[in-house]
């Protein structure tokens, strides 16, 4: 996509069939390209629709952060993949898109991914007293407060 043509760190851009998959473009970027890419999207009138993470440690040994930018009228949806090492943290984009304030807190809460320069990185969905290091959406997560029932078992 010519939108991101001049930014270093944008590894590849694919055009996607919207009628099959629901979005238009997929970009794979590196860690240092995140802030310039986000600024470009902001300057061109996109909004941050969604941000999430995938736990790919078993297959590829990474966390994949997924950002989704969209325009308002005649929606053009861009998905951005950022693969990071599970031990590193990503830069926060809350100073560009305030929506990512809560979205990054949710990714931190559910996956344990740290965000640098975030205004207030603390848990958002789980209780404040939930043990540190317990991040529910990880594939190998075991609830430290469980009483041993499996999913769906009655007491």
């Amino acid at each position: 996509m010519s939108l991101l043509a001049n930014i270093d760190g944008v590894r590849e851009t694919t055009d996607i069939d919207h009628s099959a998959q629901g979005f238009h473009h997929l970009h794979v970027i590196t860690l240092d390209a995140l802030v310039p890419v986000t600024q470009t999207f902001f300057d061109n009138g996109f909004y941050l629709e969604m941000m999430t993470c995938q736990d790919r440690r078993e297959a590829d040994g990474i966390f994949r952060l997924v950002y989704q930018f969209c325009t308002m009228s005649t929606p053009q949806r861009h998905l951005v993949h950022l693969d990071i090492d599970p031990t590193t943290s990503a830069p926060s984009i809350a100073h560009i898109f305030p929506a990512s304030d809560w979205l990054e807190r949710e990714v931190f809460d559910m996956y344990g991914v740290g965000f640098d320069n975030h205004p207030d990185l603390k848990r958002i969905l789980m209780p404040e007293a939930y043990p540190d290091g317990a991040h529910p959406l990880l594939k190998d997560f075991v609830d430290p407060e469980s009483k041993g029932e499996a999913d769906g078992q009655s007491v």
Partner: protein, 376 residues
């Protein structure tokens, strides 16, 4: 932030205090906690605390296959549960390439729009209850009961529907359903005059909502506001028109917009949306064809090809998106639900700064959030 009162510049030197608008509160529309920093009655800052209703729907999606996840989307936003349930079915149908018969598409449109009307009626009742008007609540629920009875007869549920299936719907609708729906539309069109008289033209309602909680235009891009809150700021964006799904492109309806962006015009937009929904339902009831109500050949195992899929629908609150990552197996690798109330709620710290506490209640009611949708 524009406000009718001067914001205290040097908060440290005044007597300010912290007030907890706790998780159990009749006006927060769910279990939502607002940590308010107040100077007298003026809000200096608000810190919403969410997560009291977190039920781990996204984790459940990773432990169940696609068919078993069907009851869940309805519970995410239980007030417009039909739209979410059918939206999830449509997402999987697009990923798998399943064709839906015509009659099922029309049934889905009728059910969706009736659900949208019932959601807006509930909003109307509870918003006015927050503002102190006890009467319109039961009037709105009277109309809502009629919709619930109509849908209950054919689906078996009143609130959390599991009516959609991949390829269509579970049960067929009969002529009595279409007749009852047509009668409801005729009756409901006479009720708008009642709501105008009782609510919209009421001086107290106008005093409490006109000019209150104005959304600045830059909030749209900063937070991704969607739904009636967006349309009350002059932007005519609706997923049903921008990215039509199902058969919405066949119906003739308008997108109501207003310019002011305050609580009052958000109410006007929702009243107009109900009118447009009635228009859609009447057209659908007239044009519904005969035929099968579910696709004849639905794959026994739902296994979308490896990759990512995104699908959005227009729920009563805004743009609801489902993002599915499939690894080619029966079970989703990751399923993320992008809910409109999450984005709309995130604007609250900006919008509520400098307002009075009673205005904050009006603003919170007017953006029509459902807290379980924020928490999932």
């Amino acid at each position: 932030m524009a406000s009718r009162f001067d914001v205290v510049q040097d908060a440290e030197s005044r007597d300010t205090y912290y007030l907890n608008m706790g998780p159990q509160h009749p006006s927060t529309h769910g279990v939502l906690r607002l940590k308010l920093h107040l100077d007298g009655e003026t809000i200096l800052s608000v810190d919403p605390v969410i997560g009291y209703g977190h039920r781990a729907h996204e984790k459940m999606a990773e432990n169940r296959d696609y068919l078993q996840f069907l009851p869940n989307p309805s519970r995410v936003d239980y007030i417009s549960g039909m739209i979410y349930n059918i939206g999830y079915c449509q997402a999987i149908e697009r990923a798998m390439g399943i064709e839906v018969p015509e009659r099922a598409e029309y049934i889905r449109v009728i059910a969706n729009e009736l659900n949208r009307i019932s959601s807006h009626l509930l909003w109307l009742g509870t918003f006015l209850l927050d503002l102190g008007a006890f009467t319109p609540f039961l009037y709105a629920f009277d109309d809502r009961e009629k919709i619930l009875d109509i849908l209950d007869r054919v689906t078996g549920s009143r609130l959390t529907y599991c009516y959609g299936r991949f390829g269509g719907v579970t049960l067929d609708v009969d002529d009595l359903f279409l007749q009852q729906t047509a009668e409801f539309c005729t009756h409901f069109k006479t009720r708008f005059a009642l709501y105008e008289e009782l609510v919209i033209d009421n001086v107290i309602f106008q005093e409490r909502t006109v000019g209150v909680g104005v959304f600045e235009p830059d909030l749209i891009q900063k937070y991704g506001v969607s739904g009636p809150c967006l349309r009350a700021m002059g932007q005519a964006n609706d997923v049903r028109k921008d990215e039509p799904y199902g058969i919405y492109d066949r119906f003739d309806f308008d997108i109501p917009t207003q310019m002011a962006g305050d609580c009052f015009v958000r109410s006007l937009v929702r009243m107009d949306e109900m009118r447009q929904s009635v228009r859609i339902v009447e057209q659908a009831v007239k044009d519904i064809p005969d035929g099968p109500f579910i696709a004849p050949k639905v794959p026994k195992r739902i296994r979308p090809a490896e990759g990512e899929y995104h699908f959005c629908v227009e729920s009563a609150r805004g743009n609801f998106g489902i993002y599915i990552v499939s690894d080619g197996s029966d079970i989703p690798f990751r399923l993320k639900m992008r809910t409109p109330s999450f984005a709309n709620m995130a604007t609250m710290p900006d919008v509520m700064k400098g307002t009075l506490l009673s205005d904050a209640v009006a603003i919170l009611g007017s953006i029509d959030i459902v807290v379980p949708e924020i928490d999932r």
